[in-house]
Subunit: 419 residues, 2 copies
Amino acid sequence: MKLLKGNIVFAPRLGELTAIERGALLLSDGGTILDVCKCVPEGCDAEVFDYGDALIMPSFADMHLHAPQYPMLGMGMDLPLLDWLNAYTFKTEARFADTDYARGVYRKLARELIAQGTTRVCMFSSLHTDATLVLMEELERAGVTGFVGKVNMDRNSGAVLRESTQESMRETLRWLDGCASFAHVRPILTPRFPPSCTDELMAWLGKLAGERGLSVQSHLSENEREIALVRELHPDCAQYWETYNKYGLWKDHTIMAHCVHSDARERAAIRRANVVAVHCPDSNVNLCSGVAPVRAMLREGLWVALGSDIAGGALLAMNRVVGAAIRASKLRQIQTDGADEFLTVAEGYYLASTAGHRYFGAGEGFVPGDALHAIVVDDRAFAESTRPLSLRERFERSIYLLDKTTIRAVWSDGRRVVG
Amino acid sequence: MKLLKGNIVFAPRLGELTAIERGALLLSDGGTILDVCKCVPEGCDAEVFDYGDALIMPSFADMHLHAPQYPMLGMGMDLPLLDWLNAYTFKTEARFADTDYARGVYRKLARELIAQGTTRVCMFSSLHTDATLVLMEELERAGVTGFVGKVNMDRNSGAVLRESTQESMRETLRWLDGCASFAHVRPILTPRFPPSCTDELMAWLGKLAGERGLSVQSHLSENEREIALVRELHPDCAQYWETYNKYGLWKDHTIMAHCVHSDARERAAIRRANVVAVHCPDSNVNLCSGVAPVRAMLREGLWVALGSDIAGGALLAMNRVVGAAIRASKLRQIQTDGADEFLTVAEGYYLASTAGHRYFGAGEGFVPGDALHAIVVDDRAFAESTRPLSLRERFERSIYLLDKTTIRAVWSDGRRVVG
């Protein structure tokens, strides 16, 4: 067995925080949580990881990001969505035809994710099958777990990034065959968004998802120009979500990034289907898309998680995405004259941890039976306080201030991958 | 002489960026800029600092921050302004009666400012004279230059942080006497804000400012509740700014932080007097104050600079405050249906550098005759790009991504203080 000693903090449910001073986590040899202990058990025969006064918290789950956009992080931020796609994104992604290039970028990204405390992802690759397999290898190697999708896009992608409908189908099958060898990273079907996929391809993907029991991730109602384009391409659909629904892609555990402009009817469709709305606050602000109605979604019982959405988002570190979500929610509170109350730090952290981990079957925070996904935060580097801080205060300060230099250890799927 | 070799980038005027690939800065022995060179001069007899392919850019000027709030950075962010002041701020500041405690915090803060590339500040201390002198010593020692103010507050500050009117006057004079020994840090008069100062104290400070030729810094129109309180306390003043004007505190080079709710009339008063409006976007969002009408201010010709406003702001690094200003401006663009266009990255950087340095008499970017204030950014740690980047792209990426680990050197007032 293994025993991790430290201050235990997790967000079991939205708005709730469990804080156990000088507690412990008891793990099996394989890294499954056996017990969350209010005080350190004595005399048990376990390998001890004594983190002293540090905070042991669930790691982050980044539920939407584009791996091949990592090289353009922090660039092109003065452009709106569709211009940004054409001027930067598609050209950058096109480079991933070169698997050697892909290897270098993806190795760096995977290590950076882990160093920043992100142990679970739902990630877009590019359309390239081989580079996608390289990405999955590098995630596995670094200790990142979750879902990765080869992107499907057989129209409207410009000259540099193109696959025919037949190629897209054939390569999707070849990619799925190649995924069998991975233990911690699994495939998820990934039509880029309706403007990039022909109806034929969408229908084929929906059928494949059903036959093979695969999940689906895509984008929804991000931006007004994009929504208008979808409406033009699918005049039979009253709302954006219906373009997925008509091809069997709108189902339990489908991941939909953004949902900035999802109105009450679209939100009801999200809730009914148990679709996950992934809020990407930094990206939505950077690209002037707007601020998603997160408070309304939560009030209505939707499943909301958080995504960095790099490189529309310029923040890879999920604690900073929590900060972005809180800040965006405060502006939305002002804008709605207080009707949509802002996200508290405990709520923001819940969205970035528990709500995401749940996608992979995990329970509410640290729960016996789950493989451990955790970060250990050493907050001694922050300025000396004027008085002893409560564990809740230390938690809040950590969310606002931590960076990879203050993350002392990272555990992913029961394995210690940093520290 | 000294010769700094590298890629030179600066923002001479709002929206303009000068980018010189493989250029150089020629300095006098004392660190005054003699020439900004398009190519490296040959055969000159100078000590060479070869920064290779790194970026040499003007350092940051943080035109509004509260030094004694550094210990509470990233805490209490779920509270609105006046509650936050009472629950956290006043109690934290009260601790600075202890100069030994102050020494430790201020040494850490001063070093952190320099490490993050901030070489000029306009800073609030607490009301404590001795701790303020300690702060000035520690800034000098670390290489931070600029203005520091002992705070005046003789009413409405609660039980823990209080000075009588007479004490406030006496201690202000004692503090000014103690400032004579500093070479790089000078005093600025600092009435906290009208609710914290009696009319008698305000009048005395206005008179002192005039007699001694001292500048003034304070807060203006941050938050609706605060504005209502000021109106109640000064029924003779139609607008917030008039409460300063009536006591001679509203004058050329007066620093006014926030100006979130300054309407066209108040903005015109700011412009007429050559008052500096310091935009503190992170603080204003964190405390739900709103987003200042920065685009309108710039259009109308106001002098706008940037402040971290820690610890209302949770970001000490000014490149991240630039990011906050850009993001806030994008939300304001959305809110105003495009009437207030967002700040570009070049504009945001201008506000955080040139617009602030100007307060201290500096010219438009790197200009012969000015003492060098610069950071050297090594961007090799960022992800490998898909193609060679332009210097402008590297500049943008640096503003979004740099942290102290990528700041290779810092020059302050002509002296090399890091690297």
